[in-house]
């Protein structure tokens, strides 16, 4: 990370100015090495999305390639009859809760790693890295036992805790990289001016961390929104279902009702795809600031 740090001083570097366009110099090879593969890949990405949208907005029984006449009957079915309205609410609460806890704890721990030298620091960092190799799927048995003993089964709080525990290590490593990229001199100057360390952090460092908060927070939101296995194992009561769990049942039960499946898919996809479209830029900038090279 030191190597990266010396290369890049600020957490978010402005994009390099676009090279001046060469006048009237058309490079025919650009078609084959740029536009053609790009268009092919876009088709690969978008056709599945489009297929889902067509099924979601097309009346049952139709086979046209355009969802016309457009209908919202499938959304009515999944939202009201199957209960996706409730699943949506559960997923949203879990994702927002996880976002808050992961971001707060990651800022605290990341600050500790970046700004202090303390006994056990390397062991802590090593432990954080090692958690990346713990398979969540294989932890289901012991986690189930723990959750049962502490009464966290069928509780949204329990899912927030489990999601936080599994996402926090990576978020913390990322965040410590971001904090390290904020010049410590700013904070020291504020402290010389009489600020406490805490005030210096809130007044000087935290505002600089905004892109990092967006990146880490959206990671956490998307991860919790999408988590399937924990929700499947720990929330078996239907009123605690999340969207992925609801979808997985839709996959099995409504084998013939593709319209409902597709509409449920759209409900599950829209929030994360929107969040992602907004933060995608921060993500690439943030990662390229070197934070990822723990």
């Amino acid at each position: 990370m030191t190597q990266t740090l010396s290369r890049q001083e600020t957490p978010v570097s402005p994009p390099p100015p676009a090279p001046p366009r060469r006048k009237k110099h058309r490079d025919p090879s650009r078609f084959f090495r740029l536009y053609l593969p790009l268009v092919l890949y876009l088709l690969f990405t978008l056709i599945p999305f489009y297929w889902m949208l067509v099924f979601a907005f097309r009346p049952a029984g139709e086979t046209t390639l355009l969802p016309w006449p457009i209908t919202f009957e499938h959304f009515d079915t999944v939202w009201n009859d199957i209960g996706f309205g409730l699943f949506f609410q559960n997923s949203l609460l879990i994702a927002l809760g996880t976002l808050v806890t992961v971001t707060v704890f990651a800022v605290m721990g990341g600050y500790a790693l970046a700004r202090f030298k303390f006994r056990g620091q390397r062991v802590f960092l090593l432990a954080l890295l090692c958690t990346q190799f713990i398979p969540g799927a294989m932890m289901l048995i012991p986690l189930f036992v723990i959750f049962k003993n502490v009464g966290l089964l069928n509780s949204l709080t329990g899912l927030i805790i489990a999601d936080t525990a599994f996402q926090l290590p990576l978020a913390l490593i990322l965040m410590s990289g971001f904090v390290r990229n904020v010049p410590v001199e700013l904070e020291e100057a504020a402290m010389v001016d009489g600020c406490s360390r805490l005030r210096a952090f809130f007044a000087v460092t935290l505002p600089q961390l905004r892109p990092a908060l967006v990146a880490v927070g959206s990671f956490a939101f998307i991860g919790a929104w999408n988590n399937f296995l924990f929700a499947l194992m720990f929330a078996s009561r239907q009123d605690k279902f999340t969207l992925p769990v609801g979808l997985s049942y839709a996959l099995g039960e409504f084998n013939t009702d593709f319209g409902a499946l597709a509409a449920g898919g759209v409900v599950a996809a829209v929030p994360v795809v929107l969040v992602f479209a907004v933060v995608q830029r921060f993500l690439v900038q943030g990662l390229s600031a070197g934070a990822v090279k723990g």
Partner: protein
């Protein structure tokens, strides 16, 4: 700042607590369970049996070896293809062209989609009566009624493509982030020296990306090894256990037959394999070389 203070310990306390309860303790208990006969449905037989579960796994359980072999095949094929396609995609969207921001948002978007939703989308696309192959057959391409997920010959490529759809953006995002840190003067210097496009890629781009490629590949290998939700919902491990990975096998042991003891032994086997990867990962990333 070398002040002796409690502050850092207070700051990492929540993380330590969560890790201890939800990561360290479960691992220890898996280790303990793996040495026991422990079946929820037959509690009178429960008890300590030493390494019997491991003996059974290594010598009496062909499905263990079959799932392990499929896991290896899955990881190698999936990560290899994701890396190559992700690198190509990153190079493309790193170029300057009109609509680049839009193109990036679109090609990266499947990254945000969950495994279950990916399955939902591709089941719509693959289904034999109203899917894409039926549509193509109407246009005279291929046979109608092709069921790619039901046919043992096509289930593997069909599953691989589905996971590629969601997995390639991960590599593309990470590698694009790293591409943007390459100083432009390096390319200019190479051009002055007469290096062509391919030469610049091999001599400037690839060496610069080396660390990022190593790290993202290993991280991804672990994640793909552990990937359950997509395969579980798309094929359920079938047809005829053909697409059963080790974690999926564990999940089924736990959920279906409630054989926690044997399931834990399988989990330990997974750990040992992942530990090998971790060591490799830490060595290649030169962890600890930082002063």
């Amino acid at each position: 700042m070398r002040t002796r203070t409690w502050a850092p310990y207070v700051l990492i306390a929540p993380t330590l607590l969560l890790m201890a309860v939800f990561l360290v303790y479960p691992i220890a208990s898996v280790g303990w369970f793996s040495l026991r006969q422990h079946t929820v449905t037959q509690p009178w037989k429960n008890g300590f049996i030493g390494f019997e579960n491991f003996r059974r796994m290594l010598f009496d359980d062909p499905l263990f070896w079959q799932s392990l072999l499929f896991s290896a095949k899955w990881v190698v094929v999936e990560v290899g293809l994701q890396l190559v396609l992700g690198l190509v995609l990153a190079l493309i969207v790193n170029e300057t062209f009109v609509g680049r921001a839009m193109a990036r948002s679109l090609v990266f978007s499947p990254w945000a989609v969950s495994g279950v939703l990916t399955t939902g989308i591709w089941i719509l696309l693959y289904n034999p009566s109203t899917g894409i192959f039926q549509q193509l057959a109407q246009w005279g391409i291929g046979d109608p009624g092709t069921s790619v997920l039901g046919d043992p010959a096509t289930v593997f490529p069909a599953t691989v493509v589905t996971e590629l759809w969601r997995g390639v953006p991960f590599f593309a995002i990470l590698l694009l982030a790293d591409l943007q840190t390459i100083p432009n003067d390096l390319y200019e210097a190479a051009s002055v020296d007469g290096a062509g496009r391919w030469r610049r890629f091999v001599s400037v781009t690839l060496p610069h990306l080396r660390d990022a490629i190593v790290l993202s590949t290993l991280l991804r290998a672990v994640w793909e090894f552990n990937n359950v939700d997509l395969i579980y919902t798309l094929t359920g491990g079938g047809p005829a256990n053909q697409t059963t990975t080790l974690p999926l096998y564990v999940a089924r042991k736990a959920v279906d037959s409630h054989d926690f003891g044997y399931g834990s032994a399988l989990t330990m086997a997974g750990f040992v394999i992942l530990l090998f990867f971790s060591v490799l990962y830490l060595r290649l990333s030169k962890f600890g070389s930082r002063a």
